[in-house]
Amino acid sequence: MTADRLISLEKVTKRYASGPPWARRAVTALNAIDLAIGNGETLALVGESGSGKTTVGRLCLGLLEPSAGRVLLEGRPFSAWRGKLRGRLATVLQHPRWSLNPRLRIGTSVAEPLVVGGSTGRREVSAKVTEMLASVGLPAEMERRYPHELSGGQCQRVAIARALITAPRLIVFDEAVSALDVSVQAQVLNLIKDLQQQVGFSALFITHDLAAARYVASEIAVLHRGTLVESGPASRLYQASSHPYTRGLQEAGGLLDRAAQNPAPFEVADLGVGL
């Protein structure tokens, strides 16, 4: 049943109390949703602000407990994992610069998850840091630099290197490319896809950007005000969706006009070598 699922949310509801003490309101962030991510799979969770997507991310990292329903990691609830979670989960967040301590060298930041785990010797840590930086396409000498010396895209690649260093089973990417330029987005998304092929982690890719979601993921789930409106393979998003909310998002992102209007420019221009 849940054997091949790395992480699953079963009928999960999450409520928050908000407002001043004399006028408390209950806000339902998530309403009995079911989600699952298989081993080695990327699930893109698409939603706008207020959809509850960040809440799902926090639940998957064990930072929150559901008000109802269960969150299972490898078939067991988070409470059963007490203390043994270290290194199995990692996250890459939205703002490249704020994810890195400005006072620490890159190498120290990347090494942190491993150092905190306590069981790795210094030389091994150092080797791992170099290895991780190489896997995200950064030279070893980057270790000595500080975050302000790097570009946004480079900072985000460092964040990915840090996320990978403990060989986690699940990485939660929370709007990880939203703050990056067009070309840098492509670079980082390609990197995530390639690394997943090589390393085999599962990923939860939280985003408001449908184009990024269908590009990087194999499965998609669309969230609207705490309810799951659509889920299925990512390839579905290359055509107009039957669900009105999803189609609305596709139209807003211009994903439907272009496919119909013009063929992608490089297809016209790609006449090959030797012309």
């Binding site: 330029d181 067009v182 070309s183 492509a186 390609n190 408001h208 950007d209 998002l249 211009g254 992608a264």
Partner: protein
């Protein structure tokens, strides 16, 4: 006929303790009445500086090195303080990225809209402004504070305030970057609609290729402080003549068909310290040849648009460089 906006060979430096950074390096642009001109570029290309320069709204460390900006034929840099204030109030309108941050958090919306109207605005006029931007519950909105509005509503208010005095030129700097996807197109529809209705030129600054493509009549692609390709949006995106435009389109993940792979542009954008005496894109460009690293390209008119590139003919012929 005099263009509503003309920017000639504009160069702007920023001075700091560490030296000079050249943000705009010889930008040239014109815009005619009533058109929507989209300026597209990634961060650091200088588009915000360019937009702000139109109203001389630059940071204290900024220095105009050469060139000029003409609004309706009159030089913006030659104006004295009073004339400048009049220009900003009467002829220009600005819409910024974060509406809630742009509005005064301590004053109700109605009062702020009144301040944007000529003379002492009346409540009736405030309501008219809010209606025009699609806020039908004008009374309630006028009584609210900025933080009580959603991002979309606040941006509508900003647009209303920017257009209140029927300016000739509206400059919108990433007006939808902070808004949800479903609201973006509504806001851009509103902005372009209102500008067309009032005959104002809209200068739309954005890194969002698709929004620019959809809403602009003409497009100017900005890189390294220069406008490297300018022309009708219908042809620029389908048959680009500048390598940066072509490579940017290849890097756009939204344009990649299923199973395809986007191609990021190698390298990083330049940080200029002065006039760039060669092509600033050359280090990253697929079409680079000897000329590109030695001679500063000048604007040429090719296939219906202006391009700043030595190799434009090859790019437009669709020959992919090896």
């Amino acid at each position: 006929m005099t263009p509503a906006l003309a920017i000639n060979d504009l160069a702007i430096d920023f001075r700091s303790r560490r030296g000079h950074v050249r943000a705009v390096d010889g930008a040239a642009l014109t815009a005619a009445c009533g058109e929507v001109l989209g300026v597209v570029g990634e961060s650091g290309c200088g588009k915000s500086t360019l937009g702000m320069a139109i109203g001389r709204l630059l940071a204290p460390g900024a220095l105009r090195v050469t060139g000029d900006i003409l609004v309706d034929g009159r030089s913006v840099f030659a104006l004295d303080d009073d004339a400048l204030r009049t220009l900003r109030a009467e002829e220009l309108g600005f819409v910024f990225q974060d509406p809630i941050g742009t509005l005064d958090p301590t004053r109700r919306i109605g009062l702020q809209v009144k301040a944007a109207l000529p003379g002492r605005g009346t409540d009736r006029e405030v309501e008219a402004v809010l209606f025009e931007v699609g806020l039908s519950d004008a009374g309630r909105v006028a009584r609210s504070y900025p933080h009580e509005l959603s991002g979309g509503m606040a941006q509508r208010v900003s647009i209303g305030m920017a257009l209140a005095r029927r300016p000739k030129i509206v400059i919108a700097d990433e007006p939808t970057a902070a808004l949800d996807a479903s609201i973006k197109s509504q806001i851009l529809d509103l902005l372009t609609g209102r500008c067309r209705a009032t005959g104002a030129v809209l200068i739309l600054l954005s890194h969002d290729l698709h929004a620019i493509r959809k809403y602009s009549d003409r497009v100017a692609v900005m890189y390294g402080g220069r406008l490297v390709e300018t022309g009708p949006s219908s042809i620029i995106f389908t048959r680009p003549a500048h390598p940066y435009t072509a490579m940017l389109l290849r890097a756009s993940i939204a344009d990649v068909p299923i199973g395809g792979r986007a191609e990021p542009i190698p390298g990083a954008p330049p940080v200029l310290e002065g006039r760039c005496e060669r092509c600033s894109f050359a280090p990253r460009c697929e079409w680079t040849e000897q000329r590109c690293t030695a001679v500063r390209p000048e604007a040429r008119f090719i296939a219906g648009r202006e391009v700043v590139c030595h190799r434009a003919e090859s790019v437009i012929a669709g020959v992919r460089a090896s």
